[in-house]
């Protein structure tokens, strides 16, 4: 959302316009949830998001537009997550859980020269809309996303769905750039393997 839109929405929020609050919630809640999910895990994510919303409302009048509204909301969410669960904040888990359709692993390449042994299968569609007309693929993707570790799936969604820069993700989640890169790459290869499997076999 552009700065002008942010300012306009903010004005309506400060007037207490209920429709503006609904717009705010539906636009940003899933990004906030992804941040909370990454820091405190699934069990406490909803509580953290609720807390964050209350802090947002309480400090709304102090929002100065130095960052985008989205960045501001996500920072509040991250702080609320960190503050509340400081004691049991987990180590950065680079754990790589098994995924339903595996990944693009070493077995796809020749041991000697590193060429493809099993070349990437050519997908039948070349737009995302066309791919997603298959409801089964949709469900299949949801399933794969759920199989990722909390941190891996959050990083993937913050990057791909929410369009955050890698540096923003590092700052919010307090993890290093190299860890973000590893998490993102592993997650993408698993999602890639899922689409490939579906395109090749027609089933999930």
């Amino acid at each position: 959302m552009a700065a002008a839109d942010d300012a306009h929405l903010l004005e309506r929020l400060l007037k207490g316009e209920q429709r503006a609050y609904k717009e705010l919630v539906t636009t940003y809640q899933s990004a906030m949830r992804a941040v909370a999910y990454a820091i405190v895990g699934q069990r406490h994510a909803d509580e953290v998001v609720q807390d964050a919303w209350l802090s947002v409302v309480r400090s709304l009048a102090r929002f100065e537009g130095r960052s985008s509204l989205k960045t501001w909301l996500l920072t509040i969410t991250a702080n609320s997550a960190k503050g509340r669960y400081k004691q049991n904040r987990r180590e950065v888990l680079l754990d790589d859980l098994p995924s339903p359709h595996g990944t693009i692993g070493d077995e796809r390449f020749a041991a000697g020269d590193g060429h493809w042994l099993v070349a990437p299968f050519a997908w039948h569609e070349d737009t995302p809309e066309a791919l997603l007309t298959e409801n089964e693929l949709r469900e299949c993707l949801e399933h794969t996303l759920l199989s990722l570790s909390e941190l891996q799936s959050s990083v993937l969604l913050l990057r791909e769905r929410q369009g955050l820069e890698l540096e923003e993700i590092c700052n919010l989640l307090e993890i290093s750039l190299s860890n973000v890169r590893v998490l993102l790459h592993r997650a993408r290869l698993k999602v890639f393997a899922t689409v490939e499997h579906f395109e090749e076999t027609g089933e999930c």
Partner: protein, 77 residues
């Protein structure tokens, strides 16, 4: 010259603009000569675009939450 395996290993960094100038050249050079890897990168981009438009679970209680937040604002002002 980069191998296909190395190309895949660097693909996310390539897509995210995290490679150095020299690494980017190596990557481009490999892609120029390798149809399989071109397909891989093209399909990685397609996968990214698909995640971007994959419908998100709806916020189930948006209306109730919006009402609570608007009320909270009034209480604070």
């Amino acid at each position: 010259m980069l191998t296909c395996k190395e190309q895949v290993a660097r693909s996310s960094d390539f897509l995210d603009g995290q490679l150095t100038f020299r690494e980017r050249l190596l990557m481009r050079h490999h892609l120029l000569f390798c149809a399989n890897c071109r397909r891989f990168i093209r399909q990685m981009r397609l996968m990214q675009a698909t995640l971007r438009i994959l419908p998100e679970p709806e916020v189930s209680d948006a209306q109730a939450l919006a009402e609570r937040l608007a009320a909270e604002l009034k209480r604070n002002s």
